[in-house]
């Protein structure tokens, strides 16, 4: 059985079918990209994986265990952490306290949580901002904080939701470096991203979706040259 697998997941919001029979899997330490035009259901898939929304149908497995009916906090405790596309900093807490809040998942000791949080801030290049309130951060730093906070829970699988959106080219390069660094430490990653540079620079496999349905999945080069993918992004004319 795969390290992580979603099997024919479906999500309907009333009459609207947001996700329809999507399946994919990844191995331990693998990085895969999830692409698709706006509104195609990428973030919804993340919300289904960590059970912000219950599935309409389908199954999700993590390390051989079915997790799709577990509450969100248990899924995180099992080892799946996520970031949010619309960042959710804990605004009136310092950057350090934000990350400590996550680090407390595996320790009850304040000093251990602080030590772990400092390590992670160092790793994510946020160490100099540790005493600032999170609401004072720039968007690039807020995106970094999302990653740092997710890492603080010691995940084995990390869901990154558009961590490079709104970043300038230099910051995007830095984001790619951070993602590669995380991947090298053995953490599996699913990336949702519009910036193809990020996807192509990091992913070993791509799943392309549109209108909640899978278009294709496979090797990055094949997927981005797939006529249906080009059609979904640019229209019939270019396919």
């Amino acid at each position: 059985m795969a390290f992580f697998e979603v099997r024919r997941i479906v999500k309907n919001f009333g009459g609207l079918c947001a996700v329809h029979e999507i399946s994919f899997s990844l191995e331990k330490g693998q990085v895969i990209g999830l692409i698709g035009p706006n509104g195609s259901g990428k973030t919804t898939i993340f919300n289904l994986i960590n059970n912000f929304f219950p599935l309409t149908a389908g199954e999700i497995y993590f390390k051989g265990k079915r997790i799709d009916s577990l509450p969100t906090h248990k899924i995180c405790a099992l080892g799946i952490a996520r970031t949010f596309q619309v960042v959710k900093p804990l605004k009136r807490m310092s950057v350090l306290d934000n990350v400590m809040a996550g680090a407390f998942l595996h320790t009850g000791s304040t000093s251990q949580a602080r030590a772990r949080a400092l390590e992670i801030l160092e790793f994510c290049n946020l160490i100099n901002k540790r005493d600032l309130d999170a609401k004072k951060l720039t968007i690039a730093d807020r995106k970094r904080l999302e990653i740092a906070r997710a890492l603080s829970t010691d995940p084995e699988l990390l869901l990154l939701d558009e961590t490079a959106a709104g970043l300038n080219p230099k910051e995007t390069e830095e984001a790619i470096e951070v993602i590669k660094k995380i991947s090298r430490s053995g953490i599996a990653i699913i990336i949702v991203e519009h910036k193809m540079k990020v996807i192509m620079g990091t992913s070993e496999k791509i799943v392309a979706i549109n209108f909640g349905r899978e278009i294709t999945q496979g090797e990055p080069r094949e997927v981005i040259n797939h006529p249906e993918v080009i059609k979904a992004y640019l229209g019939d004319h270019y396919a």
Binding site: H73, F84, K91, R92, M93, D97, A101, G108, T110, D131
Partner: protein, 319 residues
């Protein structure tokens, strides 16, 4: 070290205070301040740190008071036993209330709690055979001197402060504040949010019930419209905390002191117009001191520190 010295000084002043103010009226005011400081600190744990604004803490205050009162009324047991049973009853009631109401967020939770307080008030007015209804319960207090009550109230406030202080410095504090700042983010960080809201609620209800039981023993008369009052208990607790500083350790105490002293001045000078004066005061606090007195002072202190060191200290444990 400096902090320890300040704490010791505060404790000594608190212990000596009633020996300086010997008039029963003055001692009564001091006791009232301590009661509200204890209530405010307990409310602050749930409402300030965990961000679950309760408009119904009168329910727990009244339950504590009535537990003590009913022991004396029906069972001829000393109402002092209420200090033991009252908080237990409040805590027990808070568990199902929490499990149900914590499904609601923000203003919906506040409204559900407001309804809770009112439900208890109406039940206790109408359940005449058990509660004596609107006639209330009167006891003959064994102790008539103010001084012992002062030290009991001081102990009560100390307990409230200690519980809150210990909790917020630990993992609990980080989790409470995370839940307040963003419940979804907190949940995604592996925090069981409903459970931790309950962990904030239980001690809060416990202290509130304990204070209610103490109130029964001290004032020696209660009726549902007093102890389950929306305006004079539930909302007043919130005003005390807002004035002093939401989510600051000492804010509720400072708020209680200023509130009670001002209300005595307003009441003696202006009579019924004192309510108006308070309304204006609340507006001014919201407009100019949105973080409360302790909160604003802390902000100033932090700014000064930053200017001096060029760096800011961890912002979680304010006050």
């Amino acid at each position: 070290m400096k902090k320890v010295l300040i704490n010791i000084t505060v404790a000594i002043v608190a212990i000596l205070l009633p020996l300086v103010f010997r008039a029963p009226y003055h001692q009564h005011i001091l006791i009232t301040i301590l009661i509200w400081a204890a209530l405010g600190t307990a409310w602050n744990l749930l409402g300030g740190y965990a961000g679950q604004v309760s408009f119904g803490h009168a329910a727990f205050f009244g339950l504590g008071a009535y537990t003590a009162g009913i022991l004396a009324l029906h069972y001829n047991i000393s109402p002092w036993w209420g200090l033991l049973l009252g908080p237990l009853v409040s805590t027990l009631i808070s568990i199902p209330v929490g499990l149900i109401c914590f499904r609601l967020r923000g203003p919906y939770f506040a409204l559900a709690m407001l309804a809770l307080g009112e439900i208890f008030r109406l039940v206790f007015i109408n359940w005449v055979t058990f509660t004596n209804g609107a006639k209330g319960i009167m006891i003959i207090p064994k102790i008539t001197m103010k001084l012992p009550y002062y030290y009991m109230a001081l102990g009560l406030f100390f307990l409230s402060l200690t519980i809150t202080g210990l909790l917020i410095k630990s993992r609990f504090g980080y989790y409470f504040i995370s839940i307040r700042e963003d419940q979804d983010a907190a949940e995604s960080l592996g925090i069981p949010t409903t459970r931790y809201k309950l962990f904030a609620f239980l001690p809060s209800a416990f202290i509130t019930g304990l204070t209610g039981a103490f109130y029964m023993n001290y004032i020696a008369f209660i009726d549902p419209n007093v102890v389950f009052s929306l305006a004079n208990v539930s909302v007043m607790i919130i005003l005390v905390v807002m004035l002093g500083g939401v989510a600051t350790l000492w804010g509720p105490a400072v708020g209680a002191a200023i509130y009670i002293l001002l209300s005595e001045v307003f009441r003696t000078r202006m009579g019924a117009a004192s309510v108006l004066a308070f309304g204006i005061l609340v507006c001014l606090v919201i407009m100019f001191l949105p973080n409360g007195i302790v909160g604003e002072l802390d902000g100033l202190r932090k700014m000064a520190l930053r200017k001096m060191n060029g760096g800011e200290k961890s912002g979680l444990l304010r006050g």
